[in-house]
Each structure stands twice: as structure tokens, then as C-alpha cells.
């Protein structure tokens, strides 16, 4: 008890010290205590996570340091998008908004090093190194788990920065459930989530429909282009877009031992760019961008014991997935395109690059990425507290890009087998070791080991981790090539078939205290990468013959040729600190802080020497903090108030200036109406983001610290209808399913 009191006092002091910077504190990775409709408190002590090992663990006992954003945090925060959520509720991520999607960074490393999973499955498709995170419905998230470094043998050794696992909402009870959530905010920003679930016990159907749209915004009309500062640029800070997605999942449980499922989805996104500009080199666009995604998957899970065996049931599962991510230009004005003609009807022009005037209303495919994955895995609970996790995976990637690959298409396959054992015989020690053997069609076989150890002493945990990463060049890095017009600068980016795989060694050490009211965690890590692949400037002569003249940029201006090359090495190291203190049953303070230092040794072609640089987009200090307050007024109404802040120090870039430091404040209120156990429940959220109207008005194309538009007001209305067997609402994450439950 004395220790607890001391810790509480220490917690109050620590948060107090951080307060000038952080207070009132946001939603860090931990805590965030919102009561549910049934009045049960949530508690991270009872949070179960799965990402790091593939098996369920209480968060406090997970052998590999895992950061969690809980359902209650998500609800208290009222986020607009996954970018909004990740940057607001952790201090680990940094985002830059691109034309095509989000440039994301985790621990200083960008999109291609971050594995984003939805329920354990990789999201698919990238454009220009950016992922379109619109496929993730922010209102359909149960929780988010983040594991840094290539720590997990299960999900691929290419996740050198880490894994983000988005766990979606699921309901397993019989009956009918329907939900509609509509969020509306300034800039005509609409997000809608609809879910209909029908379950008869053996058979269940879940249908989700989401749509998102925004008019975008413009923080500045200044743009440096054509050697002068334009003051009437129409370029937006964030482009207008609209998307929608429909997904269906059918599950069938013929017996207590077998589960079968099939699911499919379709997604479409239109990104609309300004048409009223007057400077074609930077703010006039003659085409919009469009994505069309589709997916289909099916699988089975067979338990090796009856349900009576409890939560430790060994099982084998087989999954097969197909995903497609197609990227189009939708022309809005006449545009000459250099097109590779193929077909007898083109006569002598067959096989030539030819200028073709594309007309408004017409579309043209830029790239179509398709992927097929099959995965066979099993979890076996063995004697002597060993848990064996073994699996095999086969992945086939196919890229069709008529104008952007030499032969119109390219493909690649990777196979992997992995094995991981958790040894938990001793109360004070958990050892987890894994091996992943990867075979790639172009790059042969590679074995990557991972090991972690967790020592327990009362409420303290000490974790050590080491993992090797191995990332073969992607099909795009090998074969893709295209002209990238960025304002008045044009780049011709070229794939390189001579690339070598990237490798990494990740070391981490963590100490954590997780008591009933106070939690604290400090993690230090070092990630060393060899053969890191980056786009570097090369002479124009390296642009493939035959297409140079078509692509020599905007006329009198030059095009800068860039090619993917293996750099010598890079390292990132950092320190993550999270604190959470439950002051009273109704008030919780949380904060998170990340220190990051990066260095990459790049080969400077023009000077023929190595230079050490900070990895683009990294900031030394990032933080977030929140205070959440909840109170019930009778049985029918519950109020939640969340005040939060997030910030970053200067973000460093080699070109186009550094991003300014910033700090942003936000308040969100939640209002739950309805009696627990009744079919109908309502929820209202009203919030103000960026309360003090911070706007970075740095001119285009220089880097922004944050692209927030200034103060915005948003409101969300959610109605749920739940008919059938009474459900323990939103309790999935708190169900204790393992033997790891605290005694």
C-alpha cells in the first residue's frame, strides 16, 4: 500500500510537471475511462491484446510491449479519421497529407515499413508511397493495437517500423443489431457508418456500409512556383474527396469446433482537385484521382478441443484472401498523355509511346495492384505452459500498370513459414521466441529470429526484445516508374531491378507499472536498418530510353530523375513514455511523450560521397495528453467530457523547409441516452477541434508541421437498435479469455 501511495503521489507529480506542456492530458495509449451504457467501468487492467504474439493476453501481461487505443478512448476522442485518431491518441505517429493518401511515420519510418492490419489482415495497396486510410471506418473500430519494430514473427518481417492492428467491432450474440453513426463537421465533412448484424447462433451476417466526404480546405493561397511567390494559388491544403465502402461478412459455425467465414468488400474513392486555378504548373489540374478497391476472402478455423476446454483451445485456421487496389485518372479537361500503344489495330504504332488527347469524362488506369494471400496457421497449447504458434503463408503480388511498367505488368511472390513459442512456466518470467523463414522469388531465403523476455515483479513488468527484419523490395520499387508532378517541379521516379533486400535489427527495453489507478510505461528502442531503400536523385540519362522525351517535364523546366536505391544504413532510436492516473472514478489524466532521433547515411550521387541526414519528416519530440471526465445523471443520461492536446517539435526535411512545431487543443463531449438493456440507445457527441485556431500558413510547397485547418466544430449522432438476446454491450475487449488473468 505504501508503494501504491508513493506511486500515486509520484504520478500526480509527474503529470503535474508535464502539465505546462501537456495538460490537460490526452489520451495516451493507456487508460481513458468512459463508462458504458450498462455502467460497467472499463479498465486497461482487463484489456486483452492479440497482436504481438497472436494469442490473447491481458495488456499488462503481454510479453511484447503493446500500445493500445481502447474503445472508450476512441469514443471519448470522437475522431474524424484513422489519421486523426492515431495522431491524437498516441505520440508515436506523424502524418503528412498527400494528394493520394496519407504519408505516415512510426518511429521515423514511413508507410512501407508500417504494417497496417485490419483484424490481423494486411491492408492492401499504396500509391506513391502513401496509403489510402479511408478504407478504415473510424466508427467501426473496437480498439487499435500497436507493436513497434519487427517484433512479431506472425505478420511478416517487413514491418520494420511496427504493426498497427485495427480490431473492428464484432458481435457474437444471437439477434438483430443495427447501428447508424453520422458525424458532421466543418468543411462539409461527413462520415457515416452503418452496420446491420443478424445472428441465429450458427449463422451470422454482418453488413457494413460507410461513407466519408469532405470539401477540403486551404490554409494559404501563397505558393512558390515558377520562380516567384504566387498569392492567388487555389491549391488546397487538403483536397476534397468522397468515398464509400460496403462490406459483407458471413460466418457459419456448424459445430462448436468449426467456424467458417466468407467476406467481401467494395470501396471507391474520388479525390477532387481544384479546377479554378490560374497557374497550371501548380494549381490547375486536368484530372481527378480515383481508387477502386475490392476484396474477397474465405477461411475456416478448426478447434482441436470442445468449448468446454475453455479459452485455451488449440486450433488450426486457413485463410485465403484476394485484394485489388486500382488507381485511375478521371479527366476533367483535355489532357495529352503519353500512352504506350499495344495491339494490332495500332498498326505501326503498336508498341510505341504516343501522345493521346484524353477527354473530360474519360478515365485511365494508372496502376492495378492485386494480391492473393493464403495463410495456414495453428496455435497449440502444449504441456509445461508452452504455447506454440506455427504457420505458413503464401503471397502473390500482381501489378498491372500499362504506362508505368516496362512490360505493362509485373509480379512477385513470397512464401514464409514461422514458428513461435511462448514459454510461461515461471511466474516471474515469460520467454517468447520466434523464427520466420521467408522465401522470395527474386531474393532467395532468409531466416529472421525474434526474441523477447518479460520479467514480472508485482505490478511491475520489465520487457526486453530483439528482432530481425527482412524486407524484400516491393513490386513497385522494382518495376514502377512514373512522372510525379509536384507543383512546378517534376520528378520521374524509376523502379530498380537491381535492389537488394533491406534488413533491420530492433532492440527494445521496457519498464512498466500498471496499478489500479496509476500506470506508467517507459520504453527505449533502437532500430538499425541496412540497405534501406529510398528514392534518390539520379542523372536524367537513367530514365528508360524511349520515354524520356515524352516525360521531360513541363517544357523549359527540367525533370529530376529519381531512382530507388539501397542506401548504406539508417538508424532510429527513441524513448516512449506513457502515464495514466485515475484521479477519481470519474476523472482520468493521461499523457504520452515520444523522443525520436534518426540518422540515415545517404549516398550523394552529385558529390560521390556519403552524407548523414535526419530522416525526412521526423521530429525529436511529440506528445499528447488528455483529461477525461464522466458522470451519470440518473439512469438515462451519461455525460463524458474529454479535453486533449497534442503537439510536436520541428519536423525536419532535407528539401522544402522544416515543418513548424505546433500544439493543438481539443474538447469533445459525449452524451449517452437510454436505459441499459433497452433495445434503443442514442449517443450524441459535440466537440471542438483545435480550440485556439492554430493554423500553419506556410506557403506551398514547403512543409507544414500540421495541416489542420484551424478551429472546427463537429457533431456525431449515433443510434443503435439491439433486438434479441441481451448483449453485454461493447464488452468484447474486456472479456477475460485467457489464463493470463491476474489472480
Amino acid at each position: 500500500m505504501t508503494l501504491h501511495r508513493t506511486l500515486h503521489a509520484a504520478a500526480a507529480t509527474a503529470i503535474g510537471i508535464l502539465s505546462p506542456l501537456l495538460l490537460p492530458v490526452s489520451a495516451s495509449a493507456l487508460a481513458g475511462e468512459m463508462p458504458y451504457a450498462d455502467g460497467m467501468p472499463n479498465d486497461t487492467l482487463r484489456e486483452v491484446v492479440v497482436t504481438a504474439t497472436g494469442t490473447q493476453h491481458l495488456l499488462r501481461d503481454v510479453p511484447v510491449q503493446t500500445e493500445v487505443i481502447t474503445r472508450s478512448q476512441l469514443e471519448a476522442f470522437g475522431g474524424r479519421s484513422i489519421e486523426d485518431i492515431l495522431s491524437g491518441l498516441t505520440s508515436s505517429f506523424a502524418f503528412s497529407q498527400g494528394d493520394m493518401g496519407s504519408q505516415m511515420q512510426l518511429g521515423g519510418l514511413g508507410n512501407s515499413y508500417i504494417l497496417i492490419l485490419i483484424d490481423g489482415k494486411r491492408i492492401h495497396g499504396d500509391v506513391g508511397g502513401e496509403n489510402d486510410l479511408g478504407v478504415i471506418d473510424p466508427h467501426n473500430i473496437e480498439r487499435i493495437e500497436i507493436v513497434k519494430g519487427a517484433q512479431s514473427a506472425l505478420y511478416g518481417s517487413d514491418a520494420m517500423a511496427g504493426v498497427i492492428n485495427i480490431i473492428t467491432k464484432k458481435r457474437t450474440d444471437k439477434g438483430f443489431f443495427a447501428e447508424n453513426t453520422t458525424r458532421y463537421g466543418m468543411h462539409n465533412d461527413l462520415r457515416q457508418h452503418n452496420s446491420v448484424i443478424l445472428s441465429s447462433g450458427k449463422f451470422a451476417s454482418q453488413t457494413n456500409f460507410q461513407m466519408q466526404r469532405s470539401d477540403g480546405w486551404q490554409n494559404t493561397s501563397e505558393e512558390f512556383a515558377e520562380g516567384m511567390v504566387l498569392t492567388d494559388s487555389k491549391k488546397k491544403t487538403s483536397n476534397a474527396f468522397r468515398n464509400w465502402q460496403i462490406a459483407e461478412r458471413l460466418t457459419y459455425k456448424p459445430s462448436g469446433r468449426t467456424e467458417l467465414y466468407a467476406e467481401g468488400s467494395y470501396y471507391k474513392k474520388n479525390i477532387c482537385r481544384p479546377r479554378n486555378g490560374t497557374h497550371p504548373s501548380c494549381d490547375v489540374y486536368t484530372y481527378d484521382l480515383r481508387y477502386n478497391n475490392a476484396s474477397a476472402s474465405a477461411g475456416a478455423k478448426i478447434y482441436l478441443a470442445d468449448e468446454s476446454a475453455g479459452t485455451q483451445r488449440s486450433y488450426i485456421s486457413l485463410d485465403a484472401d484476394w485484394d485489388k487496389h486500382a488507381y485511375y485518372y478521371d479527366y476533367t479537361a483535355g489532357t495529352y498523355e503519353s500512352i504506350l500503344l499495344k495491339g494490332e489495330e495500332f498498326g505501326q504504332l503498336d508498341g510505341e509511346w504516343y501522345p493521346v488527347l484524353m477527354k473530360p469524362g474519360q478515365s485511365r488506369l494508372q496502376s492495378d495492384q492485386q494480391r492473393v494471400m493464403t495463410q495456414l496457421k495453428g496455435i497449440f497449447y502444449l504441456p509445461a505452459q508452452n504455447t506454440l504458434n506455427a504457420g505458413a503463408e503464401y503471397r502473390y503480388d500482381y501489378l498491372r500498370a500499362p504506362e508505368r511498367t516496362e512490360n505493362g505488368s509485373a509480379d512477385d511472390w513470397t512464401a514464409a513459414v514461422y514458428i513461435q513459442d511462448e514459454f510461461d512456466r515461471l511466474e516471474w518470467l515469460n520467454l517468447t521466441a520466434g523464427l520466420r523463414l521467408v522465401e522470395n522469388v527474386n531474393f532467395g531465403v532468409r531466416l529472421t529470429p525474434k526474441a523477447s523476455a518479460m520479467f514480472s515483479a508485482g505490478d511491475f513488468r520489465f520487457r526486453l526484445g530483439w528482432s530481425q527484419g527482412f524486407k524484400t523490395p516491393t513490386v513497385k520499387e522494382l518495376h514502377y516508374r512514373y512522372l510525379h508532378v509536384m507543383g512546378s517541379t517534376s520528378f520521374f521516379n524509376i523502379g530498380n531491378t537491381s535492389l537488394n533486400p533491406q534488413t533491420s535489427n530492433y532492440y527494445s527495453a521496457n519498464i512498466e507499472y500498471r496499478g489500479r489507478r496509476f500506470t506508467a510505461s517507459v520504453t527505449g528502442y533502437l532500430n538499425k536498418l541496412d540497405n534501406m531503400i529510398a528514392l534518390v536523385n539520379v542523372p536524367v540519362g537513367e530514365i528508360p530510353a524511349g520515354i524520356t522525351s515524352a516525360y521531360l517535364g513541363d517544357g523549359s523546366g527540367a525533370v529530376q530523375a529519381r531512382m530507388y536505391k539501397n542506401m548504406d544504413d539508417a538508424r532510429t532510436c527513441g524513448l516512449d513514455v506513457t502515464l495514466s492516473y485515475k484521479v477519481t472514478k470519474e476523472l482520468t489524466l493521461s499523457s504520452a511523450y515520444s523522443y525520436l532521433d534518426t540518422e540515415a547515411n545517404l549516398y550523394d550521387v552529385s558529390k560521390d560521397k556519403m552524407t548523414a541526414v535526419t530522416i525526412d519528416g521526423t521530429a525529436h519530440h511529440k506528445w499528447s495528453a488528455s483529461a477525461t471526465y464522466n458522470h451519470s445523471f440518473g439512469k438515462l443520461y451519461k455525460l463524458g467530457v474529454g479535453l486533449s492536446t497534442r503537439g510536436s517539435s520541428t519536423r525536419y526535411y532535407q528539401n522544402n523547409g522544416n515543418g513548424k512545431p505546433f500544439q493543438i487543443w481539443r474538447i469533445n463531449t459525449t452524451h449517452n441516452f437510454g436505459r441499459a438493456g433497452k433495445p434503443l440507445a442514442y449517443r450524441l457527441e459535440v466537440g471542438v477541434d483545435n480550440i485556439f485556431n492554430y493554423v500553419d500558413r506556410t506557403m506551398h510547397p514547403y512543409h507544414l508541421g500540421t495541416n489542420t485547418s484551424g478551429t472546427t466544430v463537429h457533431g456525431t449522432f449515433s443510434i443503435t437498435f439491439n433486438y434479441g438476446k441481451r448483449l453485454q454491450k461493447h464488452k468484447t475487449s474486456t472479456k477475460v479469455k485467457t489464463n493470463y488473468e491476474e489472480s
Binding site: 504548373s281 490547375v284 483535355g334 495500332f346 498498326g347 505501326q348 493464403t374 503464401y394 517544357g555
Partner: protein, 376 residues
């Protein structure tokens, strides 16, 4: 592992075969084909109307790479007018070989000196050449407005060869008999770039430049900034012309230098190094564009002034302008302008006349025609 892989492959093949390679390729090819033929039609009609109105039977097609600068548009207009004066018997057509320049000129790039947005529609040489053939001009000159016989010029040559070989989509072939006659009559001419011949063109251009800039050369260094060519196996290796021009100029006055933006070992720092080894370590340096028009390179890479054009941590960066670079190297850089713009070579009458003489003295293209019906 192999067996496992086979099983997994079979599993996914069964599950997924149907939708995998769903393709919209055929639709896209159809649209592409239709767009090409409709663009032929538009060009054909424009040229037919021009020929009908002028009643001329000779066509001159000028092919520039293109630009998006209004002062460059003016230079192109003046060039076209000069050609019309020099070839009164001909219809003169002007084209851009750069798709992006056409797109941006059409969308309204930049403004004129009064701040008004200028939108210009330019033609594409391959479509225009089709139209000239469809209109059956009895004599055709195709003149490259490139400075050196490099990659861009090779594209002009390729488009003329394609024209003579009736290299068009199947439904848009020209009258093959007409092309045969054009060849037999030696009536298809290819005008060569400004610095095509090292023995005649290079000294002629050097003399013209000296005529214009001898006063500057007497007061300091005069440095010309050319573009540079990707001298690869597939393109003409034309960078040597810059060195030849520098030699020719220095034979007249050692204060002349010729550097480039893109030629290996002939960047601004190489020009500086040559100047220093010749003992010229300070003083005035006059900067001129050795490009057909003054566009981005001339305005930014050469004449750009201010902190956006100078990064002291990387002095030789391609983003540092010549103006800032030489100013920071103890010289006094001067960019002579006309109406606030540096001048391109097409704006120098003496130089432009060398291009016109290339057209006038062009040799007919030999062996360009090959019947598309070789068996006949």
C-alpha cells in the same frame, strides 16, 4: 516447404481464380484508339481549311520542345512570323513536342507582363504532320527548333520517318501513293538543329554571339547556360557541341564559357573551375541562356535571385542558381534582360536566321519512304 507451397497455391487458385485478372484493358484500348483518330480528324480539318484559304502548296512545320512562359510564346510567335516572311509560298505550322507543355499552355500557364492569364493551344507534331500529309502539300519542310542534335531532335527525326512510312493507326493511313511521290520528288525536307554541324554551324553561332556580346566579353566573363543532353546509347550524343562552341567562342575571346544544366562535367561548378584555372577569379560575369527560348531554366536555374536560390550548405546543389552561385564565388553576376526577361536564342535575329537558313538549305530526306505494301 515446396509441398506446402503447392498446397497453398492450389488453395488460393481455387478460391480466387474468377475475379483476379478482371481487366478493363480492351475498353481502354478502344478509347485510346478513338481519341487518336478523332484528334487526327481535328488536325486534318484545321490544316485543310488553312490550305484551302491560303491556296499554298508548301508546308513548313516548326517543332519546338515547348514552353509555358508567355515571353516564350511571344518568341515562338515571332519565329513563326519570321518564317512566314522568309517562306511566303508556304503555310507555316508551329508545334510543341512536349505533351505537358501543350496541356499547360492550353490551361493558361503564367501571365503576360500586365498580369493577364494567357491561354494558348499548341499542336502536337505527329498529329499536325498527319494533317499536312492528308492535305497533300506537294512540298514539306520539318524544322527542328532544338539547339543541339540530341535526344529531342532524334524524336523529331523519328516522327518524320513515321510519317513517311505511313505509321498511323490502321483507319487513319495516308494515301501511300502521295507519300511515294513526296519521296520520289524529293519534296520532304528535314531542317537540322542550330548547332548541327561542328564545322559550319558552331563557328557561325559563335560569331553571331560574339557580335552581340563582345562588349560584355571585354568587361568580364560571358557565360552561356545550355541544357545538356542525356548522352545515352539510345540518343544522339550531342553534348560535345557545347564544348565545341566554347572552343569556337574562346578562339574569338577567351572570356566566353559554355556550361549546362544537365551535362555531366559541365555544370556551373565546372565553368567556375575553368574560369579559375584561366586566372579569372573575380569580376563581372554576364549570364545568357543558350536555349531556344527563356523559360524555367533561364529564369530560375540561371537568373534566380534570392534566398530560394541559394543553399550555403550545398553550394553546388542543382537548386542553386548560376546568379547566386557566381555572386557567392566573389564574382558580380549580371543577367542582361529585355522587357524584364532574359532572352532565348530564337529572339536573337542573327541566330534565328541560322535556323531559317537550315530550313532553306535543308537536304531532302533520302530513303525515308518505305511502302506499307512492300509486296507490291
Amino acid at each position: 516447404m515446396k509441398n506446402l507451397k503447392t498446397i497453398l497455391k492450389a488453395a488460393f487458385a481455387l478460391c480466387i481464380a474468377a475475379p483476379l485478372f478482371s481487366s478493363c484493358g480492351n475498353d481502354e484500348d478502344t478509347i485510346t484508339y478513338q481519341n487518336i483518330t478523332s484528334e487526327y480528324t481535328i488536325n486534318d480539318e484545321m490544316v485543310a481549311n488553312q490550305k484551302k484559304a491560303s491556296k499554298k502548296d508548301v508546308a513548313v512545320l516548326l517543332v519546338a520542345f515547348g514552353s509555358t512562359w508567355n515571353n516564350a510564346f511571344n518568341a515562338f510567335d515571332a519565329t513563326k512570323a519570321a518564317y512566314e516572311a522568309a517562306f511566303p509560298e508556304a503555310d507555316v505550322y508551329f508545334s510543341f513536342s512536349s505533351d505537358i507543355c501543350i496541356n499547360r499552355a492550353s490551361a493558361g500557364e503564367n501571365t503576360d507582363d500586365e498580369g493577364n492569364i494567357v491561354k494558348r493551344d499548341y499542336y502536337e507534331p505527329r498529329y499536325l504532320l498527319h494533317a499536312i500529309g492528308a492535305a497533300k502539300y506537294s512540298k514539306i519542310y520539318v524544322q527542328s527548333l532544338q539547339v543541339i542534335p540530341g535526344e529531342e531532335f532524334s524524336a523529331v527525326v523519328a516522327s518524320v520517318k513515321k510519317f513517311m512510312n505511313n505509321g498511323y493507326v490502321t483507319s487513319a493511313h495516308l494515301d501511300d501513293q502521295y507519300l511515294a511521290e513526296l519521296s520520289e520528288n524529293k519534296a520532304i525536307y528535314l531542317g537540322l538543329p542550330l548547332l548541327n554541324d561542328p564545322n559550319t554551324d558552331v563557328p557561325a553561332v559563335a560569331n553571331q554571339l560574339d557580335t552581340l556580346y563582345s562588349t560584355e566579353a571585354s568587361q568580364g566573363v560571358v557565360a552561356f547556360m545550355g541544357h545538356g543532353n542525356p548522352d545515352t546509347y539510345d540518343t544522339f550524343k550531342a553534348n560535345v557541341r557545347y564544348q565545341q562552341l566554347e572552343s569556337a567562342l574562346q578562339a574569338i575571346n577567351p572570356n566566353y564559357y559554355v556550361g549546362t544544366v544537365d551535362m555531366e562535367n559541365n555544370f556551373k561548378e565546372d565553368v567556375l573551375s575553368r574560369m579559375q584555372s584561366n586566372g579569372y577569379t573575380s569580376g563581372k560575369i554576364y549570364l545568357h541562356a543558350l536555349m531556344s527560348i527563356a523559360g524555367d531554366h533561364a529564369h530560375n536555374d540561371m537568373a534566380g535571385a534570392g534566398e530560394d536560390y541559394w543553399d550555403a550548405s550545398d553550394e553546388e546543389s542543382g537548386d542553386n542558381s548560376w546568379y547566386e552561385y557566381f555572386n557567392h564565388k566573389q564574382y558580380e553576376a549580371v543577367v542582361p534582360t529585355s522587357n524584364n526577361h532574359p532572352l532565348g536564342l530564337l529572339e536573337l535575329e542573327g541566330i534565328r536566321n541560322i535556323w531559317i537558313s537550315h530550313t532553306r538549305n535543308a537536304e531532302p530526306l533520302e530513303d525515308a519512304y518505305h511502302s506499307m505494301y512492300p509486296e507490291e
